[in-house]
């Protein structure tokens, strides 16, 4: 997956977690927590959705890497670049 495709996947997961949310104006540099009021339960869900959909494992000590869209994509790039987008 390219970085753009990874970003799309994350948007898809966020849409699933927060279906009432308008993600069109999401600022990639700002934290999810501040823009979407995501809490620790929601972050756990992002991690579990990644595992469910792509078998990507995110160990607990790496959760802080998922703070914003930009940091999430950068973190996932090495883990997801060999996954073929379907």
């Amino acid at each position: 997956m390219t970085n753009d495709e990874i970003r799309e996947e994350i948007i898809d997961i966020l849409e699933d977690i927060a279906p009432d949310e308008d993600l069109g104006d999401l600022d990639d540099e700002k934290s999810f927590r501040d823009q979407l009021e995501l809490d620790s339960m929601d972050f756990l869900d992002i991690v579990m959705e990644l595992r469910k959909r792509h078998r990507v494992q995110v160990p607990e000590e790496d959760y802080p890497q998922l703070a914003s869209m930009a940091s999430t994509v950068a973190y996932l790039e090495p883990k997801m670049r060999d996954i073929v987008k379907n």
Binding site: I17, D20, E37, D39, M41, L44
Partner: protein
């Protein structure tokens, strides 16, 4: 072999089931009754729909709100705000002799009512609000959680009548302990009722339940009704599965039970004696009157009315007799701001809830039981109409549900509506893969029960991730 077996298809069990099935677990929910919902359920009689439990969904927040329990549970269950189709209350009220306080979904209303009726207590009320624990602190670790609410309130408010009035709705809507309330539980209920408020779907609790079941089944979850668990099989402190009433054996890696703390322990076949003395004592009757008019046409526009006929609020099992009618809750499901395309409910409905003694109701013969339902309904209405318009000549149908009914729907000892007074906030038991959710884990009310199911599923059944 199931990944998780869930006991009870109430709000907490269904919510937990959705979480686990969503993350690809093989899950089975087992329900003893022939219908879903537990304490919050519904039935049909004489061509009319009746609700058990739900007067109102507490913790209301408007569409688009991102914080608080309701948005949180919607996200966790992958539901949309519109799935619950919540209509807001018209307004609720606490009535004691000589003084009333209105409250609604705007927290400012209650504060202004206190400013008007108890002007020298507003600062004290603000201090109470300032001392409330956040939802995030409510895992039971906070030392204030188990403090006496009466004690904390007395430190802030010097007028005892206001303390009683503030406690009355909160105890009615979520206190398993007699006479006093754990401060943590008080905080949960205070936010739920006074700061967030009430709402209801036009179709009542069945809409919420049906959406939860549809979601659960859509994810591949199994739901078995008329499938009571008679035994949890335990070997060396580890549960291996359950045995149903009909002898069927099911194996599970872990078990999540909403049957109640004592009720669950009693099912474990390694326990010979559960401590029945710790069961909850508070049960209700509810008298439902169907009217030939909308309650508003009779001059009653309150959504929920909490009344008490003396300056002291008595929250305890009746000392004598089947019921204690000194205090009660009147709910009219008509008095919500339903959307124009929904219109109004077909019948006027007045529901009156009264404290009742489970054991005395259960000791009655069938004949006496039927007769007492009528006698006690009359007594409850007679007490309530001291605080609302007399609607008796408009009654066209009626039903009463009693502690026996509540026991049938919940299987709680004593028909205890809010379960046992001692909550197991961490949800663990003496068995290493058996966990509690629902009423006896801690949060009560519909939103509380759903949050309980979600959090116990997350904490014990989803991680560590196998």
């Amino acid at each position: 072999m199931y990944d998780t077996i869930i006991i009870g298809a109430g709000m907490s069990g269904l919510a937990a089931g959705i979480r686990l099935a969503h993350f690809d677990q093989r899950v089975c929910i087992l329900e003893r009754h022939y219908t879903i919902g537990g304490l919050n359920s519904f039935y049909r009689m004489n061509g009319r729909d009746y609700d058990v439990g739900l007067h109102a969904m507490t913790n209301f927040s408007r569409k688009g709100t991102k914080t608080g329990p309701l948005p949180k549970l919607l996200r966790q269950l992958r539901l949309r705000w519109d799935d619950f189709q919540l209509a807001e209350q018209l307004g609720s009220e606490i009535r004691f002799p000589g003084v009333s306080l209105q409250f609604g979904n705007d927290a400012e209303l209650l504060r202004s009512e206190i400013a008007e009726h108890f002007p020298d207590q507003v600062d004290g009320y603000d201090r109470v609000v300032g001392r409330l624990l956040d939802y995030d602190d409510l895992d039971g670790d906070n030392p204030d959680f188990l403090r006496s609410s009466r004690e904390v309130l007395a430190e802030c408010i010097s007028e005892p009548l206001l303390v009683e009035m503030l406690l009355c709705p909160l105890m009615w809507y979520g206190n398993a302990r007699q006479n006093d309330m754990d401060f943590g539980q008080f905080c949960i209920m205070f936010r739920a009722c006074y700061l967030e408020g009430f709402a209801r779907p036009f179709k009542g609790v069945r809409l919420i339940l049906k959406n939860l079941v549809r979601k659960f089944r859509g994810l591949g979850g199994e739901l078995k009704l008329r499938s009571g668990v008679s035994r949890i099989h335990v070997e060396d402190g580890h549960a291996t599965g359950v045995v149903l009433d009909d002898g069927t054996e099911l194996e599970g890696r872990r078990i999540l039970s909403s049957a109640g703390a004592i009720e669950t322990l009693r099912l474990c076949d390694d326990i010979t004696e559960a401590e029945v003395a710790k069961a909850g004592q508070l049960s209700f009757i509810e008298s439902i009157s169907i009217l030939d008019k909308q309650p508003q046409q009779l001059g009653f526009d309150r959504t929920i009315l909490f009344y008490n006929d003396s300056e002291r609020f008595h929250w305890q099992r009746p000392e004598t007799g089947l019921c204690d009618v000194r205090t009660g809750v009147v709910c009219s499901p008509n008095n919500y701001a339903y959307a124009p395309d929904e219109g109004s409910l077909p019948d006027g409905i007045i529901r009156i809830t009264t404290l009742a003694d489970h054991d005395r109701w259960c000791a009655l013969s069938d004949k006496a039981y039927r007769a007492e339902k009528v006698v006690q309904q009359d007594a409850a209405i007679e007490s309530a109409i001291r605080f609302m318009p007399d609607f008796r000549r408009h009654v066209i149908d009626a039903d009463v549900f009693t502690p026996k009914t509540i026991r049938r729907f919940t299987w709680h000892d004593n028909g205890a509506v809010y379960g046992a007074p001692e909550k197991q906030l961490d949800g663990t038991t003496h068995v290493d893969n058996l966990y509690l959710c629902g009423t006896d884990q801690g949060f009560v009310g519909i939103v509380g029960a759903i949050v309980s199911g979600i959090s116990m599923a997350n904490r014990y059944c989803l991680r560590p991730m196998e």
